[in-house]
Structures are given as C-alpha cells and as structure tokens.
C-alpha cells in the first residue's frame, strides 16, 4: 500500500480524525484506535482545574504511532493563529499545524486572507502547515506556493453533514495540486469519504460524523475502510462514463432462433 507523505512524515492511514464533540474521552480514544488514524487533531485551550480530564495530551500520546496536529481554532486573525501555532508546537513537539481561522461562528467559513497570511509565516518557521480553506483553486495554488504541506478545502460547512457540496471545485484543486489535497469538514457518511478518495484526495479529515454516531468506534472503522477502498479505486483507474449503454456480453453469435 502506498503512503501519504506530508513533509518528512509518512502515514499508511489516509484518515485523519478530529477529537472534538465525543461524549467522553474514553469513547474518543476507542474511536481513534478503531480508525487506525495516525494523525489526529486537537485544540489548544485554557486549563480548567474543575475539568482536568479535558487534557487529551497524555491519553493520545499513549496510543502507538499517533502524531498530533493541533489546530488554531478560536483564532480570528492571522496574528492569533500564529501565536496559537507557536504555543501548540511547544506542547505537541509536532511540526503539524492545522491553520483554522474562522471569524464568524454562524457559518465557520474560513477567512482566506488571514489564513494565507498565517500559513505563509508558519511555513517559513518550519511548520508543516495544513490550512483549512474554502474550496478555492486559486487560493489552494497560492498556499502551495507559500510552502504548505497540504491544503484542506471544505466539502461543506463544519459539522453540517452536507457532504461534498464543493465537489466540482475540489476536482479542480486536486487536478492542479502538487501537494496532497485533504477534504476537511462536512462529510457525513463513509460513502462520501470513499468518493472524495476516488476523486483523488490524499486523505480526508473527519470529526463530527464519527463523534456523534451511535457507535463512534464502529463508525471510525467504517470510515477507515471507505477511505482505503476509495483510494485503492482511484489508483486502480476508474472507468469513464458513457452516455450510451456499452454491452458487456457479445452482441453477436447468439444461439439460433427456436424452431
């Protein structure tokens, strides 16, 4: 099986799992294990003495083969995201940073301008920058040129479960990109993850669809299987569509008519 390359890192899993919105830390940890994910996102937050169990660093680090990808959620400007990224790197020891800058909690759409500015600074500082972006091919190319390790365009709004609403733009981004394209946000079901991989994505990032499932570890496993199947299909070469029927059985040499 070929691997996902991000900077000098190599991952056999192409499913990145988010750790938010789970009913408990123990359910989240079971889902991470079941997903086989090797890259998981976390959010930098203030320590709360009343809820010390919120701290996920120790339990996640105890899972073999896990690399943390902190996000900059909560930032609404490039400066705030850069600050959060630098602090996160001290804590995680990981060069990965998901640049996530969304000023409006109503729609959580990423701010392209601030995201570009933050990504440019962080790439120069040696981070493996993974920007969460609108499905904009021009922005994706500019971020690639700025040294990002990947681009992470949204399928649809965060947590919306509206799937690959941006599919046609994603196809352009994938075709034009020389770095892995990772669909981040909006996926609801494993079939959508499989489709994203069939389209040529390098990976998908899923959180809500697993976290709010009736059985999160089982759903994590289902996503992992779908991602692997979709990627395998993409590499195998998917047949072209035809407007007409194309027979699979020979249309000649049928047995003679009944007498």
């Amino acid at each position: 099986m070929d691997s996902l390359h991000l900077g000098s890192y190599t991952f056999s899993s192409r499913l990145i799992l988010g750790t938010g919105k789970f009913s408990s830390s123990s359910v989240m940890l079971e889902a991470v294990k079941a997903s086989g994910s090797q890259l998981v996102t976390v959010a930098l937050r203030r320590f709360n003495r009343e809820q010390p169990e919120d701290d996920l660093f120790t339990p996640l680090s105890a899972i073999p083969g896990i690399t943390l990808m902190p996000n900059t959620s909560g930032a609404s400007t490039a400066a705030e995201a850069v600050r959060a990224a630098r602090i996160s790197r001290e804590l995680s020891g990981s060069p990965f940073i998901k640049v996530e800058i969304h000023p409006n909690p109503q729609h959580l759409m990423p701010d392209s301008i601030e995201t570009y500015e933050a990504s440019k600074i962080l790439a120069k500082e040696g981070f493996l920058v993974m920007p969460y972006i609108p499905a904009d091919p021009v922005l994706a190319k500019r971020l690639e040129e700025a040294g990002c390790a990947s681009v992470m365009p949204l399928g649809s709004a965060i947590g919306s479960g509206q799937g690959l609403a941006t599919a046609e733009m994603l196809r352009i981004i994938i075709r034009e990109s020389n770095i892995p394209v990772i669909v981040d946000a909006g996926l609801r079901s494993p079939s959508e993850a499989a489709l994203a991989m069939e389209m040529g994505c390098g990976a998908v990032l899923v959180n809500s669809a697993v976290a709010v499932a009736g059985d999160p570890p089982a759903m994590a496993e289902a996503f992992a299987e779908a991602v692997a199947a979709g990627h395998k299909a993409c590499r195998a070469g998917i047949m072209d569509k035809s407007g007409m029927a194309v027979a699979t059985s020979p249309l000649t040499a049928f047995l003679g008519p009944a007498s």
């Binding site: 750790t19 919105k21 959010a43 930098l44 919120d54 996920l56 660093f57 001290e90 947590g159 990032l205």
Partner: protein
C-alpha cells in the same frame, strides 16, 4: 521602611489568582495540580519552556496562561 506584601495577584487564564511572593511557574503548577508535562505556560505573551519553569518567578500583575490540548476537529 515599607514592607513588601507577601502575597501577589496574577491574572491566571484571565481570572485573578493569589499566591505567595517569589513563587515560580513550577510552584503555580503544583498549586493548581496541573501536570507539568502536558501544559504549555505563557507569561506576558512569552512561552516559558518546562526546563525554565522552576527559575521563572512570578510578579504582581503577570498575565499567565496555562494551556492544554482539548478535543477539537
């Protein structure tokens, strides 16, 4: 001669917090029972690395952020 108060007040994660004068960042972490290894400490916008925490003295009015990794997508 004016005697220095033995208690200082800092801003800990945006809230007032009192502790003895000459406390270090390590002393503060012990006091709030947070794990040394799993938090980031930021004093007045400067990151204080774990190896520097026992030497880093807190002063009246310092803005202290103690940060962890929580769940997020």
């Amino acid at each position: 001669m004016h005697e220095m108060p033995q208690i200082i007040t800092i801003q800990l994660n945006g809230e007032p917090f009192t502790l003895p004068r000459c406390s270090s960042v390590s002393d503060l972490l012990t006091r709030i029972a947070s794990e040394e290894k799993t938090v980031a400490t930021v004093i007045n916008d400067q990151i204080v690395r774990p190896e520097n925490r026992s030497a880093a003295r807190l002063e009246e009015g310092d803005r202290v952020e103690i940060l962890i990794f929580a769940g997020g997508g």
